[in-house]
């Protein structure tokens, strides 16, 4: 691996300064399960690695009815999926955080890092999109909020400016009659990169028979995870039944623009997006009804 400087600032201000000083030659280190492998493989050259794990604010995992869930950028996947609030109110995030890598990876990898890594297949990203998550970012010019659906710019690229750091991900408190689910397809049963994935969320009316609103996001089928806006809108006001599910799943396929590679083909990925979305919708609806 190339040489670089390792720094572990204790507060956000120092971290931003340390990042900004080196511009594109600085990267943030959270769980390291992506970036260390990329550095070892020579994917990019850096001068400085800024370990953000010693910054208290970035380790925050908290919930309040009024403000929703805050997941600090350095919070590991296991903390997220072992959290009872997440298990209860953020079932899609629970699903995705608990199937990234194996137990060893989940002990280190962070939800924030998964987002910043911006892989088309990043399992948490569609889950965050369908729960309307917002990335809170801090940089030399202050703080700004970015919707997660706008966060990724391309394979391995995000919209962070030089010197900017992800501080936390904020997810609003779901309303009653809300349900979500995340599914991915991998050839093995663990330790694999999704050939396609799909996250959905639904909000039902009080009768639990109609969909008030829904969100569908898919991954591994485009340069970035995609919010399937049109397909999601199709479900608004629809009866929560198999016909609506089929229609939305079919429409979701149109949001996919995949490539052929060693992990899967275009046809396979588009097909799988439809299957996964359909299945995820079924579960999300039943979760909303049970909730």
């Amino acid at each position: 691996m190339q040489e670089f400087e390792y720094v572990a600032p204790a507060n956000l201000e120092d971290a931003i300064r340390l990042m900004a000083e080196k511009g594109p030659r600085a990267k943030a280190l959270a769980g390291g399960t992506d970036i260390l492998i990329q550095l070892r493989g020579g994917r990019f050259q850096i001068d400085r690695l800024v370990d953000i794990k010693k910054i208290p604010e970035l380790n925050e995992l908290s919930f309040s009815e009024a403000n929703g869930l805050t997941v600090g950028a350095a919070v590991e996947c296991y903390r997220v999926y072992e959290d009872q609030t997440v298990q209860k109110l953020y079932p899609g995030l629970f699903d995705s955080a608990s199937l990234i890598g194996g137990i060893q990876i989940q002990g280190r990898a962070t939800v924030g890092g998964n987002l910043c890594n911006a892989a088309p297949s990043g399992d948490n990203i569609p889950s965050l999109i369908v729960q309307e998550a917002v990335a809170i970012v801090a940089g030399p010019n202050g703080r700004r909020n970015i919707s997660v659906e706008d966060f990724c710019a391309g394979p391995g690229r995000n919209v962070l400016q030089e010197g900017e750091l992800l501080v936390a991900i904020h997810i609003p408190t779901p309303k009653p009659n809300f349900g979500a689910h995340f599914l991915r397809f991998i050839p093995r049963n663990e330790m694999d990169i999704a050939i396609a994935n799909s996250a959905v969320s639904v909000l039902l009316d009080d009768s639990k028979q109609h969909i008030v609103s829904a969100r569908i996001a898919i991954g591994s089928v485009a340069p970035t995870p995609v919010f399937a806006r049109e397909a999601s809108a199709l479900l608004t006001g629809k009866e929560a039944n198999e016909a609506s599910i089929e229609e939305a799943a079919e429409a979701t396929k149109a949001a996919a623009s995949p490539i052929n590679d060693m992990r899967g083909t275009i046809d396979q990925r588009i097909h799988l997006v439809g299957v996964l979305t359909k299945r995820a919708l079924r579960t999300a609806i039943s979760r909303a009804r049970e909730g």
Partner: protein
Amino acid sequence: MTTTIDKTAGTPGKYKVLGTRPVRHDGIEKVTGAARYGADMNMPEMLHGKILRSPHAHARIRSIDTSKAEALPGVMAVATSKDLPIIQARELNPGQGGPRLLAENDLADKKVLYKGHAVAAVAATSPHIAEEALALIAVDYEVLPTVLGWREAMKEGATLLHDNLTEKFSATRGGAGEDTGNKSNVASHLQLKMGNVEQGFKEADTILEREYNTQTIHQGYIEPFACTAQWIPEGRLTIWTSTQGIFGVRGNVAAILNIPESMIKIVPMEIGGGFGGKGTGYLEPVAAVLSKKTGHPIKMVMSRKEVFEGTGPSSGTSITVKIGAKKDGTITAAQLGMIYEAGAYPGSPMVGGVTSAVSAYKIDNVLIDGYDVVCNKPKTAAYRAPGHPQAAFAAESALDELADMLGMDPMDLRLKNVAMEGDRAVTGVPHAHVGLKEVMDVMKAHPHYTAPLGGPNRGRGVATGYRLNGGGSGSSATINVLANGTVNLTTGSMDLSGTRVAIAMQVAETLGLTAEEVTPQVVDTDSVGWTGGSGGSRITFDTGRASIAAAQLVIEQMGARAARLWEVQPEDVEFVDGIFICTKNTDDKFTFKELAGKLMTTGGPVTCSAMDTQGGVGGALAGNIFDVEVDPETGKVDILRSTVFLDIGQAAHPSYVEGQMQGGTLQGIGWALNEEYFFTPEGVMANSSLLDYRMPTSLDLPMIDTVIIEYANPRHPYGLRGAGEHPIIAPLPAMANAVSRAIGVRMATLPISPGAILEAIEKKNTNK
């Protein structure tokens, strides 16, 4: 669940030690982390070596400039093919094989023949600096067209990998063959025949013809190649390495470096998996050269990417099968065309495929053509029953489909045609005392075979796998008797899987000791007689027999000591159930332990060595039954139930026999469902990591039930057969048969990935 079925009509428990399950002697070191594997050497003054590998699949090396790398602080030496004496001494003749060819694979000379081919090596004070130095070596390549696989290689006018490779033709197994003089990427063509296939097909009521394809796959041992070399200036060369055969390494290193074998000591480290792939070394001569240049010990450890790209995988194949049968299931003829990719240099396991494909069956008319074809992929190496799994995938898939066409039960079709002792296979060799029918009978009668499948989208697949083992290469063993009545057993057989305990148990059985009273050790090339590599399922058998022979010498010598004490003739002493008895006065008795305590006063220590070069572990049959459920919307295969069968003759340590059966099943499942080298059109392996080269995880498999069949092998004193290779053969066709039955489409290409299954289902639905 474990079942043992004794087909020898003997009494269960006929042995005291064999068939029990003692804790392996090397176990504690391995569960505590104390055992030392290839990469675990740390020596004072040690440097780290790294290899520069070709980015191109096919290119001529115009020049190599190492000056910048040499100038990097921390770099102590750089080596290229110029430093390997055998390369400087003579031109490569790729048809000849041997150490000259191996050297070319260790460091390429004039041409690189695959992406990942070693080109140069650096020794530096840290592995990171060595890596940085690699980037500073400038290699000027003239890039040549990539010959990516057998299809391109065998095309009319194909680019030739080797200017001086000519096709050899042979009509017998093993012969050198005749040189056709034709320059070609086909290194050899083997044709075996029996009877008259044209006549045979005329007699058939039903004929099936299909083509089966498999991809390049890797053994996937978890321990990457690693070694440490120390060449004392003007002195001897010592190499600590993870290998399946220390004497093979010694011979090759001596030849490549042009030094006498007596100057070399190879010390075996524990080996973290080999499966045939570590029968060949890559790093040792390079590490030795770097050590000589620097005067320091050199440690070299491959990365996982290097393991995939730079070591020998197993062949991609294309096999055509034409098979005909009468209405009653009698197979009248079989014709196979078997193309095996050898990778960069000749030497695919094609012969293993040709000789085994249909050899478990009595077929009067057989014609098999096998081709060993070079292409721009890594040079293939052995992988568990080399060449057999690909062949069985074709043959046993065809049998399954033929059974359907005939309206027969797949096991009935096999049993109808099973070869019996004395029947000749296409090799011309009559079958020995092998339990082919016995295994098939047990499979058919097993409850799994007739259990209800219990749901839609499910299928059951069955297949057998015949491992045709030939000669062994020889093993040596030494036994030293200790005064406390225990013995030390010394062998040169690398223990890949628990062979130490299995061999020690044979010695214990012979000497009337417990397994714990025998201490087995695997020692270096200076400390034991020549011993061939750990491969070919021969270790428990060959080294076992050598060890039994040494134990018998121990009994003889100790008997003579007893005779001396009793003042009788040696022939008046018998050894029964671990006790020396005087036949002249049966009150005179010594236990082994009592007599062991008297050795120093009756003539000194007893130390006995023996060797076995007879070999002949012989063939044996294994089989698998799988139940699968396929998700028709995603193509995902869920394995519901798995049973594996093996004729082991006599299980030495049943747990480790079961382990072989379960491990072989795992590797076969991986091969069948997901594993493959995914090459770009430029010949670059795109999935050279354990993330994307998808080996089965614990979550992908059910428990693997085992059925051990003990049909004693007359060639071994205790009836043992080999276990190491057989269990990887049948899982390929058994899984293909299971999935094919679950989805109603015949899957004839491996891997049967979810994508392939989806496509097949789609095609079936469109054609309806």
